[in-house]
Amino acid sequence: MNIYIQELKMSVKSLIYWTFGMLLALMFFMLLFPAISQDAALMNQLISKFPPELTRALGLTTLDLSMALGFYGYLFLFILLIGSVYAMKSGMSVLSEEIRAKTADFLLSKPISRNTIVTAKIMSVLSLLVLQTVFYIIGAFIVVNLTTNQLFDRTTFLLINLSLLLVQLFFAALGLLLSVIVRKIKTVLPIALGIVFGFYVLQMLNQSLTDSNLAYITPFAYFDISKIVATGAYESNYLIINTFMILGFTILTYIIYNKKDMPSI
């Protein structure tokens, strides 16, 4: 419990910054909505002139930008990217930070097992991500209501936003695993950015090529916003894959961390 609290204390500031950043980005995009929805016919016409591969890659085929949820669903991608980078960064740094700050000797010479450390740290990241999702959803609900007077389906809205947490869990777990595989990570953020954008490029390829095999490797494909908007539900096979990926990464993290030699100072 003491490690969990210590961890939360150290990460609360960055949680506030990132969540605030996500809401700010959302606010900026949503302010464009009244203008775009008015000229939606023009917009849709413009988009239809794009090469079909490009519109697919951008995920613009099925989303109707004149509808509040359609527009929100489209720009949600950017929020998802920011949130994913935050999750990956948190997952990657939570265990490796002790090695980077050279405090691993302090923590690991205490009468606790390595499993206790991993559990406490995972719980802290989980708490951060859940907190972020809650704050983000409340904030997003207010922002969307302020910028549009359209009625929209709240369940679908919630489903779109909850996919943030589910994708974040994937990246956090992947980050954890990478952080225990690599002996010593010097900087976290550039690696997190690179990996998240790498997965996003895969998703663009997946949408453009409509190759169903690619969809299994990138979490961005697991929760296809246009499908959520259309059906009001997640696709269960992808939900299961996501869950297994997260569990797999986490279990491997425990196993590897237990065997790891702490680098000497």
Partner: protein
């Protein structure tokens, strides 16, 4: 009873050598000096005892329990001061010490204040603002606050001024009187000689010998650097106990083991322009004491 029991402990980092076949015991209540030059494997041995790293082969037991399997229970009763101290920069000293205490069953908040007073440590400063020596003091308090049965010190005096070193040695003495076992690693023989009952000497990953401090007390190595007004005859320092003699015209350096008065008398015969007497490094003692027998 043996508090520490190390049997044929080996650690390789990939292909590079950590320690090879290290075996020794530390008995309950003794202060055991663990000596060797930098890179000899002292920290590797200590880090294995704390299961910060895992041995390639061999075994280590503390309080009769296996270091790896029962590490958690063992560490409840170990106080560890690493050679380089690093803590969470954003924390205040007192918060860090309380955090450290929260891991132990028998920690006592008063002990923090007591130790901080002895070591003259300001508890309200941020870790980030502390000098190296002050961080070391945090390390000392952190290592002792839960009244451990075994204290492991890895080159503890680096960065401490002589006054603080003395207070630190007093603290360790007090612990020794209470029956606490101490494993004291150092590369300075004279530092360890003051407080230890036995010393183990490690070199290039191998334990070369474990010796009673009384045996070593007969040896009193001093390193002399002398400059004279006139050229020194080659056979001038032909005295029993001198080794590593190097005479270059007016200057001479050598290591002497024995009654210093002999040298003083010898120097009295001539005009000396400069004279330095210092503790030889451990390497130098190795060269002239242990290599002879190896």
């Amino acid at each position: 009873m043996n508090v520490i029991e190390i049997i044929n402990l080996c650690k390789f980092y990939g292909k590079s050598r950590g320690i090879i076949d290290v075996s020794f015991n530390v008995e309950e209540g003794e202060v055991f000096g663990f000596i060797g030059p930098n890179g000899a494997g002292k920290s590797t041995t200590i880090r294995t005892l704390l299961s910060l790293i895992y041995p390639t082969s061999g075994s280590a037991k503390i309080f009769g329990m296996d270091c790896i399997k029962e590490g958690r229970e063992i560490r409840q009763h170990i106080g560890y001061l690493p050679s380089e101290v690093f803590y969470y920069d954003n924390m205040k000293v007192i918060d860090l010490l309380k955090y450290s205490a929260s891991f132990y069953l028998n920690s006592d908040k008063n002990r923090i204040y007591e130790l901080a007073a002895i070591m003259d440590l300001d508890l309200n400063r941020k870790i980030d603002d502390l000098s190296y020596g002050n961080k070391k003091k945090v390390g000392i308090v952190q290592g002792l606050l839960h009244r451990p049965k075994l204290i492991i010190l890895d080159e503890p005096t680096g960065g401490l001024d002589p006054l603080m070193q003395n207070r630190f040695f007093d603290l360790i003495h007090e612990e020794k009187e209470k029956g606490t076992t101490v494993l004291f690693s150092s590369h300075i023989l004279s530092e360890v000689q003051k407080i230890c009952t036995r010393v183990g000497i490690i070199k290039e990953g191998k334990m070369i010998r474990v010796e009673d401090i009384k045996t070593l007390e007969h040896t009193n190595y001093k390193k002399f650097k002398i400059e004279m007004k006139e050229a020194i005859p080659a056979e001038y320092f032909n005295i029993n106990g001198i080794s590593n003699l190097d005479v270059k015209e007016k200057a001479a350096t050598f290591i002497f083991n024995g009654d210093i008065n002999k040298i003083v008398e010898k120097l009295y015969e001539r005009k000396v322009s400069n004279l330095i007497v210092e503790e030889p490094s451990l390497e130098e003692i190795f060269l002239h004491y242990y290599d002879k027998e190896a």
